[in-house]
């Protein structure tokens, strides 16, 4: 049964290899190959899942050793896979949502002549992501970690002919590299501290931790913070969140799969996986929670201001992941809920993105919500599925988001002490804002009058990003229509997930019991009862919705974005984070390199050339002595002879 684990990865990897090297002759069937292999991977996952369910909780960890990867003296890295409940959860999420999105992409990318390569990249991503969650040591995890980075780079920049896309891809990769730096430093620290970086020896299980117990808290804090840096990079947490918004340059399925459902949650996986390290480093945990809290507010605020539907959703993704990180930072209280929210979020956020994609599909790839409106009667399926996802994310009682988010907020309060209160308050506030901006999106898109009819209006402040926007349909009036079956089916499935997943997990704490053996769980001392928290959550949600309705539901939405308050304008510019990067890093870097090039040319090289020149000048002067007249040479010879005679005489004399 263990051997299936390798097949999980092998299937999409094979797909990637075939599709990327296959050449044009595969154009016709490429997308089917990709989808089938993704599906195959999902099937393997399902089989393994069934197998795990068959075992009892203690023996639900399968490992498969393939070969010794980098053996150097003490440094032993193996290619070994580890499938336990945690990775299993991810495997199902990745392959499941992944397969659906493959299916969706068949319709979405229909008119793209490079569709085969698109599917190749998607498969590559699946393989890398599975490697990430199945790796048994941090170095192998690193491979998957950068692999998904590469895939996301390729997919964000899929429409390479657009400079904006290429730049966004580069930005994403670079910011992630900063995070990767953290990961590699963490691995180095582990190696020097423990002499190994495999999960088993280092972490152990939650009831009997491994080598970590022997290390000093300072070291562990260092490792933990480095891991957090990596997580920030991958999961777009403050301060490394700037790339996620630009990443929306990629095709919508990519945004749905990579930048909403799976890859961006890798950071959370990393933290939860390293639970035993974080448990022993409370300071690091505090930092994690702070980062989570800050990001969830940051993302939410950004999400409120964006008129680009995908960017609004990106902000929301950021903030939802903020929730997860916050939960993960809470320690054993929150690990399970972090993962649970991660899964439910995977469903509804993917659904929302697919919905957004379907809307754009029908609206000539227009992304500006101010040019939408009243679309519900034109694309009913999209409306319903999107609406369900919406209800799920704002935490409407009974839907997935409600359960997971509510649990996180409880856990935040349960952290206890002042920080417990602060974090809880942040989480609640975030919930309110979430309700606000999601309602805004909903209203601007599906309700109100049909603003897209007046398409001769000047193009809005937010530049439209999809490629077709430049090519066609800039002034042609769009004809909203429902998307083809291949696109609607995945949306429906995901909608189901976003409605029922949460409930299914929470009834009898199924999810908790499933995951507890890996992460461990403890009920904190909640200062206030769960019921109170739930009530509070619902109320803030209602408040948020009503405010949004008052602003966008009652009054007509202006097509041209109003100037807005200072905060709004800042939020439109991602709270000036990019400007900061631009001024400090980009400009500074350019000047640094310029000056260094100059220095290299003048100083380092100049010294050498200067020496050469001086030698040349000297010899030029010397050669004047060589006037070529035999007689003057004779004089020098004679003089030399005289000197020799003198020398000999002197020697004699002495």
């Amino acid at each position: 049964m263990e051997n299936l684990i390798a097949l999980l990865i092998a299937a999409p990897l094979l797909g990637a290899a075939v599709l990327l090297t296959g050449g044009r002759r595969l154009d016709a069937v490429g997308h089917w190959i990709g989808t089938l292999l993704a599906g195959a991977s999902f099937v393997f996952g399902a089989i393994l899942f069934a197998d795990l369910l068959g075992k009892d909780a203690e023996h639900r960890t399968l490992t498969q050793h393939l070969w010794s990867w980098i053996p150097v003296e003490g440094f032993q890295a193996d290619v070994t896979f580890r499938l336990d409940q945690l990775s299993m959860t991810f495997v199902l999420l990745i392959t499941g949502v992944g397969s659906l999105i493959h299916l969706y992409s068949i319709g979405y990318m229909e008119h793209d002549e490079r569709r085969r390569r698109f599917f190749g990249y998607l498969n590559l991503f699946l393989a890398a992501m599975l490697l990430l969650v199945l790796a048994d040591n941090y170095l192998l995890l690193y491979v998957g970690w950068e692999g998904v980075g590469l895939a996301s780079y390729l997919l964000i920049g899929f429409w390479q002919h657009k400079p904006s896309a290429a730049t966004a891809a580069k930005k994403a990769f670079l910011v992630n590299r900063v995070g990767d730096m953290g990961l590699s430093i963490a691995i180095m620290l582990m190696f020097t501290t423990f002499g190994t970086f495999a999960f088993g020896p280092v972490l152990g299980s939650h009831e009997k931790p491994g080598l970590v117990t022997g290390a000093s808290e300072a070291t562990l804090t260092g490792i933990a913070l480095m891991l957090l840096l990596a997580a920030c990079g991958k999961s777009a947490q403050v301060p490394l969140q700037s790339w996620l918004g630009d990443a929306m340059e990629g095709p919508t399925p990519v945004s749905a799969l990579i930048h909403a459902a799976t890859m961006v949650t890798a950071g959370v996986y990393l933290i939860v996986r390293s639970a035993n390290i974080f448990n022993l480093a409370p300071d690091a945990q505090l930092v994690v929670t702070v980062v989570g809290a800050v990001t969830l507010l940051f993302g939410a605020i950004v999400g409120c201001a964006k008129d680009d539907i995908k960017k609004a959703l990106a902000g929301s993704t950021m903030s939802q992941i903020g929730y997860m990180v916050l939960a993960a930072g809470l320690g054993p209280i929150g690990y399970v809920f972090a993962i649970m929210h991660l899964v439910t979020h995977g469903f509804f956020k993917a659904g929302l993105f697919l919905g957004a994609g379907s809307v754009m599909h029908g609206m000539n790839d227009e992304v500006d919500m101010r040019k939408y409106g009243g679309l519900r009667k034109y694309m009913p399926v999209t409306f319903v599925t999107f609406g369900l996802g919406y209800l799920a994310i704002i935490g409407f009682p009974g839907l997935s988001g409600f359960f997971s988010k509510d649990k996180i907020i409880e856990a935040a309060f349960a952290k206890g002490g002042t920080e417990g209160w602060i974090l809880g308050a942040c989480a609640l506030l975030g919930a309110a804002i979430t309700a606000f901006y999601m309602t805004r999106v909903m209203l601007m898109t599906f309700f109100g009058e049909e603003r897209w009819r007046r398409s001769e209006t000047p193009s809005p402040a937010e530049p439209s990003v999809e490629p077709a926007a430049e090519t066609h349909g800039e002034h042609a009036e769009p004809h909203p229509h429902e998307s083809p079956r291949s696109m609607t089916i995945p949306m429906i499935v995901l909608a189901f997930g976003s409605v029922f997943a949460g409930g299914f997990f929470s009834i009898g704490d199924r999810f908790l019991h499933w995951l507890e053996p890996v992460t461990g769980h403890s009920h904190g001392d909640a200062p206030i009862s769960a019921a109170t928290v739930t009530a509070a959550t619902v109320t803030v949600m209602v408040v948020g919705v009503t405010i949004a309705w008052l602003q966008y539901g009652r009054r007509p939405v202006p097509v041209v974005a109003p100037r807005g308050s200072l905060l709004t304008r800042a939020a439109r510019r991602d709270l000036l984070q990019d400007d900061f990067n631009h001024v400090v890093l980009v400009r500074g870097g350019e000047h640094l390199t310029r000056s260094l090039v100059y220095v290299d040319h003048t100083l380092v090289d100049g010294v050498v050339n200067g020496t050469a020149a001086s030698v040349g000048g000297l010899s030029g002067r010397m050669r004047k002595l060589q006037n070529g007249f035999a007689r003057s040479y004779a004089v020098s010879m004679f003089g030399g002879a005289a000197i020799l005679v003198a020398a000999t005489l002197l020697m004699r004399a002495v």
């Binding site: 006037n627 070529g628 007249f629 035999a630 007689r631």
Partner: protein, 99 residues
């Protein structure tokens, strides 16, 4: 008188010859100066052989003469062909030794 004076004389002649080599431009004259130097050496050898009371010095002088003869023959031949090629016997005209 002390026969050492012969040696002084030889030294004097040698110096004069050497100086001549340095200051004359005409190749032939330069050559003569060289001969002068050789003769000075010969005189020294002869004087030395008298001093040591054996004939080796004279032998050396003799060989010197022979070699000098050979050298003169070749040297003069060179001068002649030089003169043919550039219509001058000046040493300075052959200043091609610099770049």
């Amino acid at each position: 008188m002390n026969p050492v004076n012969y040696l002084y004389l030889a030294a004097l002649l040698f110096t004069i010859g050497a100086t001549g080599v340095l200051i004359r431009r005409n190749a032939i004259v330069v050559f003569m100066c060289i001969e002068l130097m050789l003769n000075a050496c010969n005189l020294a050898f002869v004087a030395f052989s008298r001093m040591h009371g054996n004939l080796d010095g004279q032998i050396i002088a003799f060989f010197t003469m022979v070699v000098a003869a050979a050298e003169v023959v070749v040297g003069l031949a060179i001068i002649v062909s030089l003169f043919r090629s550039r219509h001058s016997a000046s040493v300075d005209d052959a200043s091609l030794m610099k770049l």
